[in-house]
Structures are given as structure tokens and as C-alpha cells.
């Protein structure tokens, strides 16, 4: 136990806790949008696609910076997304299949390219996160991402919800639907980028999907969906970081395991949806 207290007192660990709180909040907040957009599957593709994008930028520039990582992942995501769209339009292959082909190929390429990169980051860190090694500069970036997410989506909440609900009607009503979709895409890429650091390429989608799903078990209010998602993401990530030290398990996976466990509990106890709903509607 005293060892635990020692670790908690260390600066790197305090940074990790702050990072977990910020990343968890951002991802939890955005997970509300993911849920309403029903886009979890394509986001899984997106998160894997980010790996080669980031690795490529590191290969070209020689160093890993947040701006570089953002641009790299954005470009890679756009390329894979657009390619899948073009291929599925011009052939019999469904878009989901095309997307799966492109993102797994991209991810595999990224893994191959990793061998040529020397950033001091090991494979484990790329794939499953390394929140314990975040620096002060990273914290400012995470804070910035959280602030942009909160401010932007609060200012645009009304047109965003109309876009998510029924885009064709929103267009006719004068909502700039295309810009709202760009904005949502940017929010999701930024959130993924932040969680890339915390839980890595493979698990980042969990952080961006689970909190909203937990809250949706208990509320019918969109406001609660976003804020509740933020709180759950934050609390879940922070407690997972603490747990990971206490139990001596890897931090990234611990975050997703904790969130997955919370979802299971939510599913079991939710009065309005989940298991109890399923049982009562059958009986």
C-alpha cells in the first residue's frame, strides 16, 4: 500500500491522472454524438486508420508531435473513407466491406512501417496506449481538445442535433448540414487522437463508444447523454489508472476493461432498457 502511495505522489502519475480525466471527458462527451449518429462501426475503422497516418508523419518529420499526429490521422482517415466510398460506388462491393478492406490494409501497413520508426515508443505503446508517459505539453493539448469539444458543441448543439436526427429535413430548414458533419468528424478525430495516447490504436474506439452507451441506458435527455458521458468517461478513466497501479496491470487495457464493466452493470440494473426491460417485455 505504501508503494501505491509513493507512486501516486509522483509527478508522472499525477500527469497521467489529469490526462485520464481530460481524455475520458472528451471521449465520453463525444460518445453521445457517436451513439446518435450510429457510427461506431465506421469509427472503429477510423481509429485503426490513424496508426499508419501517424507513423507516416513520424517517418517524414522524424518526430511525434500532436499537430503532426492530428494531420496524419485526419489525412489517413479521409483517404480510407473516401477510397471506400469510391470503390463501393463503382462496384458491387458494399461500403462496409470496402471500408474493412481499406482500414485493415492501412493498419497492417502502419504496423509494417512501425519497424522503421525510432521514437522510443514501443509497439505496446502504439497499440495499447501509454498514458503514464504523457508530458506537460501533452496535457495542454488534451485540455485544448476538451475545451474545443465543449465550447464548439455547446454553441452548435441545436443544428448538430437536427443534422443527426434527419439531415434532409435539416438541409431544407437551413442547417449547414455539410459543415455540421465536418465538425462532427473533426470532433471524433480529435477525441480519438487523445485516446490514442491513453489506450492506443486498437482500444481507442472503446473509450469513444462505451460512456455514451452507459448513459443511454438511464436517460432520454440528449443533454444528459453528453454531460453524463463526459463524467462517466472521466471517472472511469481516472479510476482505471489508479486501479492499474494498485493491481499492477497495463493502464490502457485497464481503462477499457473498467468502462466495459460499468456498461455491463448498467445493462443489468437499468430500469428502462437493458436486461430488465428485455425480461419484462418477454414475461
Amino acid at each position: 500500500m505504501s508503494e501505491f502511495m509513493d507512486i501516486i505522489g509522483m509527478p508522472f502519475f499525477r500527469r497521467a491522472l489529469v490526462a485520464a480525466a481530460l481524455i475520458g471527458f472528451t471521449n465520453g462527451f463525444v460518445s453521445g454524438f457517436v451513439l446518435l449518429r450510429r457510427s461506431a462501426l465506421s469509427l472503429g475503422a477510423l481509429s485503426h486508420t490513424m496508426l499508419p497516418g501517424i507513423v507516416l508523419v513520424v517517418l517524414i518529420t522524424g518526430s511525434l508531435t500532436q499537430v503532426g499526429a492530428f494531420l496524419g490521422s485526419m489525412i489517413a482517415a479521409l483517404m480510407v473513407g473516401l477510397s471506400a466510398m469510391v470503390v463501393s460506388r463503382g462496384s458491387k462491393i458494399p461500403q462496409g466491406t470496402a471500408l474493412a478492406i481499406f482500414y485493415t490494409t492501412a493498419f497492417a501497413l502502419g504496423r509494417v512501417m512501425l519497424d522503421y520508426v525510432s521514437t522510443g515508443e514501443d509497439l505496446e505503446g502504439w497499440l495499447f496506449g501509454s498514458i503514464l508517459s504523457v508530458g506537460d505539453a501533452d496535457l495542454y493539448v488534451f485540455f485544448g481538445i476538451a475545451a474545443i469539444t465543449l465550447l464548439g458543441s455547446s454553441l452548435l448543439m441545436r443544428p448538430l442535433l437536427l443534422t443527426l436526427f434527419e439531415p434532409s429535413v435539416a438541409v431544407v430548414q437551413g442547417v449547414p448540414v455539410r459543415w455540421m458533419n465536418y465538425f462532427l468528424f473533426t470532433l471524433m478525430v480529435m477525441a480519438l487522437m487523445a485516446s490514442f495516447q491513453a489506450v492506443g490504436a486498437v482500444l481507442s474506439i472503446g473509450l469513444l463508444v462505451v460512456p455514451g452507451a452507459i448513459v443511454a441506458m438511464f436517460t432520454n435527455s440528449t443533454r444528459w447523454l453528453f454531460w453524463g458521458g463526459g463524467v462517466i468517461g472521466s471517472v472511469g478513466a481516472v479510476s482505471a489508472v489508479l486501479l492499474s497501479v494498485l493491481l499492477n496491470i497495463p493502464t490502457g487495457p485497464a481503462i477499457v476493461v473498467v468502462l466495459g464493466g460499468l456498461f455491463l452493470i448498467a445493462y443489468l440494473i437499468s430500469p428502462t432498457s437493458g436486461l430488465r426491460k428485455t425480461l419484462t417485455s418477454k414475461g
Binding site: 443544428p159 437536427l162 434532409s168 438541409v171 430548414q173 437551413g174 436517460t219 432520454n220
Partner: protein
């Protein structure tokens, strides 16, 4: 119901929707061919034709939602692609709606007020009245208004979405199969509503599949099968020959 779209008809001049030589294609196939139409407010127009005739596409083209290959669609002299201030309200067939969206019936109808409110304006007394009236007209007020949309039957969903279109108090209503899913009483109710909207100097354009009720509800009809088969007042255009011509393709297929 007051006319809140900012247009007055004091000078006796009607606003006009004008379509000229409209062609729309999906991939390489022509979905609409050389469509022309003139319709002014104060009228109601039914679009009739077999499946795949292009009724939904024509409504989308008027709303500015599909690309035109050629031709023009103007409202009051202005390209409808630029009419984004709430002049038009549009009721699609709701294939793209996420039915698990956490929103109540009232919430859906309140969305109809976006053109008046924009992103920031506070929901005011006018908006509240417009929403309440629309809910009452579609008999979705009271308890039903507080229901989540996931809990509604098909007909109730349809009524909620019509209420949203009505709450917008638009000048032109573009309704894609507004009667689908409605039972007998609500069909009669909606018929009355559409007639009263036209009587209020709005322009109602709706695709409609029930040929038996059409002439009771609508002033004008356009019989469509990718191209215009016949168009005009119901008395002129809604004839057996025209319908046969439009629907005969279905037999050949």
C-alpha cells in the same frame, strides 16, 4: 394560423413555384425527364404515378436536395437551392431517422421551429403556440406529446413528423406520402388540414397513392411516370386515359 413567412398577399400577387425542363438522373439513369410545372400558393397539388415514377425525386428536386442535370426550379423567381430560410417544409419518408434517438414527440415538433430560431434564439411564445397548435391538429397533444418517438406506432410517428412540418409554418409544404400509415380517422383529419393549409394561401405539394380520395383533397394533380403524363386541375387532368397511360408501364415490366 398566421402567415409568419414574411410574405403578404395584399397586392393580390401570388407566389409561384416554376419548374422548367427539369432533368434529374441517378447514376446514368434518368429519373425525371423534362418536367415542367407552374404552381402558385393557395393551391394543393398531388403527385401521382407508379412506383419509381419519380414522385419522391421530384419533391427532393423542389426542395433542392438532389442534383439537377438540367433545368430550373424557382420559387418567387429565386432558385430553390437558395431557399433555405424556412420557406419550404419537407416531410420525407423517414428511412434515415434513428428511431432510438432520445427525443419526445414535442421535441420533434419543436425542431420544426429551427428556421425561426436558428442556433441561438430563445424558444419564445410564438414558437410555443406554433408547436402546440401543430400537436393539436395532428392529435398528438397531451400525453402523446411526452412520449419518446421510439414508443410510437407507425401512424403516430407519421403524425408527429407532419406536426413538425406544420409547426414550421412554411409557405410551401412538400410532403412525401403524408397519408402513409394513417388510419381512417386520421386520414380524414389530415385531408381537412391540407385543404385548410391551401385555403390559408400556402402551397401544398404531396405525393399520393390513394386515387379514390385524391380529388376530395387536392385542387391539382400531376400524373408522373419519369415524365409528365398529364398535369392540371383535377377536373382536367385526372382522367382514366391519363392514369392508364401512366400506370401501363407497370404491367409491361
Amino acid at each position: 394560423m398566421s402567415n409568419s413567412c414574411g410574405h403578404s398577399h395584399n397586392d393580390g400577387q401570388k407566389h409561384e413555384l416554376r419548374i422548367e425542363g427539369l432533368n434529374v438522373s441517378y447514376r446514368s439513369e434518368l429519373a425525371l425527364k423534362d418536367i415542367s410545372l407552374q404552381a402558385s400558393c393557395g393551391r394543393s397539388l398531388a403527385l401521382v404515378g407508379p412506383n419509381g415514377a419519380g414522385k419522391s425525386t421530384l419533391l427532393k428536386a423542389i426542395a433542392g436536395l438532389v442534383k439537377r442535370r438540367s433545368g430550373s426550379v424557382t420559387w418567387d423567381g429565386k432558385d430553390t437551392l437558395k431557399c433555405r430560410g424556412g420557406e419550404f417544409s419537407y416531410l420525407p419518408q423517414h428511412d434515415e431517422v434513428n428511431w432510438n434517438f432520445p427525443i419526445t414527440v414535442r421535441g420533434v415538433v419543436e425542431m420544426g421551429r429551427y428556421p425561426q430560431l436558428g442556433a441561438y434564439k430563445k424558444f419564445g411564445e410564438d414558437d410555443r403556440i406554433a408547436v402546440e397548435e401543430a400537436l393539436e391538429m395532428m392529435e398528438m397533444d397531451g400525453k402523446l406529446a411526452r412520449r419518446q418517438i421510439s414508443e410510437l406506432s407507425g401512424g403516430q410517428k407519421q403524425r408527429a413528423f407532419i406536426a413538425r412540418a406544420v409547426a414550421q409554418r412554411a409557405h410551401v409544404l412538400l410532403l412525401d406520402e403524408p397519408f402513409s400509415g394513417l388510419d381512417h380517422d386520421h386520414t380524414a383529419n389530415l385531408s381537412r388540414l391540407l385543404r385548410s393549409l391551401a385555403a390559408e394561401d400556402r402551397l401544398v405539394i404531396a405525393s399520393h397513392h390513394d386515387l379514390g380520395t385524391l380529388t376530395d383533397i387536392f385542387d391539382d394533380v400531376m400524373i408522373l411516370n419519369r415524365e409528365v403524363v398529364a398535369s392540371g386541375s383535377c377536373a382536367e387532368a385526372f382522367t382514366k386515359e391519363n392514369l392508364n397511360q401512366a400506370f401501363s408501364h407497370r404491367i409491361n415490366e
